[in-house]
């Protein structure tokens, strides 16, 4: 195994307690608790080299965040090993912690009521960055992210997109060798998402910082990563170039439409595979090449109130990969 990040058969299992519903269930729960075990991460292995920008893709609850937390040292695995920058993360040595950063999309490490700059200064002290390097880093990052004017605004008064940018500066001012990002664009508007992605790509190219990012948005991965790892139910189902799945994912598009008058599904069948969704919406699966033609036909022939063209959900992609992996395993077994 070689590379900045080495993971071998890493596993993590949890015990969760299960309760029956209703008042009776609660009373029972007072005296007798039932537990069930879940395998959040199941024998994952991979290596990441210096300067790579790798994406973890998978549906919610697949084990992406749990894996990231083990690599940051926040969790002990149930079994297996991992080494990041030559250290075992969960020993949490200071020498290790000085060299990486973790950013979580829905949690903030900045103090809420005071200017972002004050939180940055705190990190400067904690990471032992000297004044000159601090000013240089923060200046560069603020310029790349276009937030020079917001440095002295209380974080409370910043927009969500601006807060994420400040989070990134706070995490990068000590020039970590590895950056872990957990759902960094979650909850952000489309423009902020684009800006964050552009920044991460530029930063990775300029500094050769190794970046590992998790997301359940295909768009994040598509825009940033050359290499993708797909995780489902704790297992790695794909580890390779983006091209490998982009083509698969890109084979189909979903046309989603609502109508001013009810339209029977049969009538839509000629466009593609149609199914009913909630709130009167219909989803039609069409080959990507035919998407615009199908959309035009939909608009001209049917009383469309609203229409969008989307990627198929990640779950579909994952299911395909899963089945492909299973099929190839079965093939190998069948070989004499």
């Amino acid at each position: 195994m070689h590379g900045l990040i080495q993971v071998d058969s890493l596993s993590k299992a949890f015990r969760r307690h299960v309760k029956d519903e209703g008042l009776l269930g609660s009373l029972k729960g007072l005296f007798n608790r039932r537990y069930e075990e879940t395998r959040a991460v199941d024998a994952i292995s991979f290596c990441v080299g210096e300067g790579e920008l790798v994406g973890f893709l998978g549906p919610n609850g697949a084990g992406k965040t749990t894996t990231l937390k083990m690599l940051s040292g926040l969790l002990h695995p149930t079994s297996g090993m991992a080494r990041v920058l030559g250290h075992t993360p969960w020993e949490r040595k200071d020498a290790f912690r000085r060299q990486f950063a973790l950013v979580m999309g829905n949690k903030s490490q900045l103090w809420f009521d005071i200017p972002a700059m004050d939180s940055l200064r705190l990190n400067k002290e904690i990471y032992g960055v000297d004044e000159r390097a601090f000013k240089a880093s923060v200046g560069e990052l603020a310029e790349m992210l276009d937030v020079q004017g917001q440095m002295n605004v209380p974080v409370r008064n910043l927009s969500l997109g601006e807060r994420m940018k400040m989070e990134l500066i706070a995490s990068l001012l000590h020039r970590p060798k590895v950056l872990f990002l957990d759902e960094p664009t979650i909850g952000l508007d489309v423009i902020s998402q684009k800006k964050i992605r552009a920044f991460l790509k530029a930063y990775n190219q300029a500094t050769r910082t190794t970046i590992l990012l998790t997301s359940h948005y295909m768009e994040d991965i598509r825009a940033l990563c050359e290499r993708v790892m797909v995780i489902s139910q704790g297992r790695l189902v794909y580890d390779g170039p983006l091209k490998g799945i982009a083509s698969r994912a890109g084979r189909y598009k979903m046309l989603k439409a609502t109508f001013t008058q009810p339209v029977p599904l049969k009538a839509l069948a000629r466009l593609g595979k149609a199914s009913q969704e909630e709130e009167g919406r219909v989803a039609i699966k069409v080959p990507a090449a035919k998407a615009t033609v199908a959309a035009r036909e939909l608009l001209t022939r049917f009383p469309v109130a609203d229409i969008t063209i989307e990627d198929p959900p990640v779950e579909d992609l994952v299911r395909q990969l899963f089945e492909k992996a299973r099929a190839s395993r079965a093939q190998e077994k069948a070989r004499p």
């Binding site: 949890f14 015990r15 959040a40 749990t66 937390k69 940051s72 040292g73 926040l74 969790l75 002990h76 969960w90 949490r92 200071d94 020498a95 912690r97 000085r98 990486f100 950063a101 973790l102 979580m104 949690k107 490490q109 103090w111 009521d113 005071i114 004050d118 939180s119 200064r121 705190l122 002290e125 904690i126 990471y127 032992g128 209380p154």
Partner: protein
């Protein structure tokens, strides 16, 4: 060492800035602490309006004890309470993850990241109480050594309070859904503000050696009133050090569990 102080100073500055946005809270907190002191003194007032002494302590001796307790307690509340009580909150919101990733000792970071200025400033209310008591006590003439020992024991008292609260709050690592366990600390500290003589022998022993609340104010106060006593000083310091060691152990054991069990 200097780095640790710089980090603490950074936290302090941030809290100061934050307090400026919440000035009203600061004054309210100070009012509350001084108010509690007044109520605490009023209890003694009611008692002494009916009896001449309390388990061998005269009114002004009790006042001196009360002042000592207020001094130790409010300083502790100002510096450590907002941090220790936040630990379970950090766990709940996931902020603990950020703390664990930083290249600083986690216990240090968690213990000092905030300061409660209202509480800290209300420690000043203890001074008049101590002064008045001193003036009304015949033969009360502390030497420089007495004062030095007194200050040292005040620090030991704060260390003991810190250890007690840390050990109790660390239980949150195991019993994640029992936040009420923190209340245990506030219940226990109530035993600290009264003359230890009111407790019977077995209880006094428990409150000195197992859950050392009773000695926190009693030892420094009675030492000032009755004279410097090397053995007592050594005892209190010893207990303080032991308490710190045990509490730190419990904390890190809990942290390990958090790392294994949480998601």
């Amino acid at each position: 060492m200097a780095r640790l102080f710089r980090i603490w100073w950074c936290f302090f500055k941030n809290v100061l800035a934050e307090t400026m946005s919440y000035r009203l809270n600061f004054f309210l907190m100070m009012t509350i602490h001084v108010g509690w002191f007044a109520v605490y003194l009023a209890t003694y007032g009611v008692i002494f309006s009916q009896v001449k002494d309390l388990a061998g302590w005269s009114p002004y001796e009790v006042l001196f004890l009360a002042g000592t307790w207020q001094l130790i307690f409010t300083t502790f509340v100002g510096i450590f309470v907002p941090n220790l009580s936040n630990i379970s909150w950090f766990i709940k919101t996931g902020e603990m993850d950020f703390v664990l990733c930083k290249p600083v000792g986690s216990l240090f970071y968690l213990s000092i990241n905030r300061v409660e200025l209202g509480g800290l400033s209300s420690m000043l209310s203890a001074i008049p109480a101590l002064a008045i008591a001193g003036r009304h006590l015949p033969g009360f003439a502390p030497t420089a050594w007495d004062l030095a020992a007194y200050c040292l024991l005040i620090l030991a008292g704060i260390a003991i309070l810190y250890s007690l609260m840390l050990a109790i709050v660390s239980i949150a690592f195991w019993a994640t859904r029992a936040s009420a366990v923190q209340g245990l600390f506030w219940a226990i500290q109530e035993f600290g503000g009264y003359p230890a003589a009111i407790y019977n022998r077995p209880l006094r022993w428990v409150l000195t050696f197992i859950i050392p609340v009773a000695i926190i104010a009693n030892l420094p106060a009675s030492m000032m009133l009755k004279g410097l006593d090397g053995a007592s000083v050594a005892l209190m310091l010893g207990i303080a050090v032991l308490a710190l060691v045990v509490a730190r152990f419990v904390f890190y054991a809990g942290l390990k569990r958090y790392q294994s069990a949480s998601s």
